[in-house]
Symmetry: C2
Subunit: 295 residues, 2 copies
């Protein structure tokens, strides 16, 4: 696990550097907007999604600069969703990654706009020819990221999550919610390397399936952390789900079965990587990391 | 003007039909999200931006289906900005296009997500090969729309507008604010036809300049309407700027000079169209319409 943590840190640093370059603070009064964007997107985090982009890209020998731009764009989308999710009108959270959330540090209006601008910037970055010389690769990235993060992906999942506050969901419904809300972006992260590397169906599907199982394991572990971990460990509020009476994998499966399920999915995710001869060590370690992390 | 109004209505109908096709209501609990998106995007409006896309596309014989998809994507971005702008944390408006705003009809959280999903969907639509067979045209549209609507465009302008509540802006600052906040999307609308038609620099610049002057004239007229028109005419709250003590073209120039300036810009916009031999009648009428409208 030490090797993975070191690699996570190294890639996080490289992605932060790319984000720093992409989000230059302008001269005008709108500087505050870009400061808020930078506050959120450069405010730490495990950077699991960017890491998955980098690792899957290396499987195909993709140029690091290409992969870093895609990783940065994806992190912008992830961070925009956190900013909007934390707003008073949504989850009303004031702590994220151990710091004040964007609307607490700035204000609600700035946070809404910072989220909007991050989402927009992600597509601008992907459309730029510096991301990949092949126009069809850039279009595929844009199309897949839009699908993963829009009404039939992440935002759709967030809507189901909102509806879940008034009606308790069952296991298939929770699974679908999470597949959309957190799974879709994780699957995109895993497929990004395959898209950049223009690989065939077999490896593309293997990475999609890896991402699917990893994403679900990640979410079950997240639900477990909400019950078992402390604010100090996670850097965000815990016990939220129980407080709101919302169904989770833990409330539906119980602690023991939730742990079992997460471990099973973690092993299953690993198996999908068998189609690759080499280069999957860190991706395999990742499957254990997501279920055993304490933050 | 009757000819223009008829043409505006005809194009609005065609764009509405395209938006209806693109925003299919799904089966799951996220149906509410797409209903809110449809409520806002199919809720009337003058459809000036889509109209400009259609008219400039016709100058180059662009296929109507291509133009309609771009027009629909642009209207999604415009409507997302209205939804977020109307939120309690922003302008706190409950009336838009003569109807309850999205967060009043639904709720704040749903409105935030509906805006997010519309923005995302716009890029998904543009990336689709049905929009144009040439990948580089699609990428150019995505790149230009992202720039026009992001931190260096519309959202940047909205941020400056927020800052203007605490510090009174002067004329160059107001002009820059409006160039970003409303001008950038109008310029995009005017350039869309040139991008789709793959025309040269001369005509591209002519349409950009037309859009620039038209956009500024539009905004001055908007400031005048806020002073001179009624709620019944505009379908939205009026007298807002004065109430908030915000500087506008009218407060800085006075009524008479604001009217003069709008008319001057309208004529100037027309002149840019002289590089075209024909097909610009409705675009010329549009320059008069934007300064003489009552809504």
């Amino acid at each position: 696990m030490a090797e993975l943590k070191q690699a996570l840190q190294a890639e996080a640093k490289a992605v932060d550097h790319m984000l720093d370059l992409l989000l230059e603070i302008p001269d005008g009064a709108e500087a505050r907007l870009v400061e808020a964007m930078r506050y959120s997107v450069l405010g730490g985090g495990k950077r699991i999604r960017p890491f998955l982009v980098m690792m899957t890209s290396r499987l195909f020998g993709v140029d690091d600069q290409s992969a870093l731009r895609v990783a940065a764009a994806l992190e912008m989308v992830h961070c925009y969703s956190l900013i909007h999710d934390d707003l008073p009108a949504m989850d009303d959270d004031d702590l994220r990654r151990g710091r004040a959330t964007c609307h607490i540090e700035y204000d609600d209006a700035t946070a809404i706009l910072a989220g909007d601008a991050l989402l927009t910037c992600a597509f601008e970055v992907l459309a730029d020819e510096e991301t990949h010389q092949d126009p069809n690769v850039r279009l595929k990235l844009i199309s897949e990221l839009a699908k993963a993060s829009g009404m039939n992906g992440m935002v759709g999942g967030q809507m189901i999550d909102l509806m879940a506050e008034t009606r308790e969901l069952d296991l298939p419904e929770i699974t679908r919610l999470q597949r959309l809300k957190t799974g879709a972006l994780i699957v995109f992260a895993c497929k990004a390397g395959a898209i950049l590397g223009k690989t065939g169906e077999l490896k593309n599907h293997a990475l999609r399936n890896y991402g699917h199982d990893l994403g679900l394991a990640f979410q079950i572990a997240d639900d477990l952390l909400d019950v078992e971990a402390s604010v100090e460990e996670t850097g965000k509020k815990v016990g939220k789900d129980a407080e709101r009476g919302k169904a989770t994998f833990v409330s539906l499966l119980g602690l023991e079965r939730a742990h079992e399920q997460a471990n099973m999915l973690s092993e299953q995710a690993c198996k999908h990587l068998d189609v690759f001869d080499k280069g999957t060590d860190l991706l395999r370690q990742m499957t254990h990391y997501v279920v055993n992390r304490r933050s």
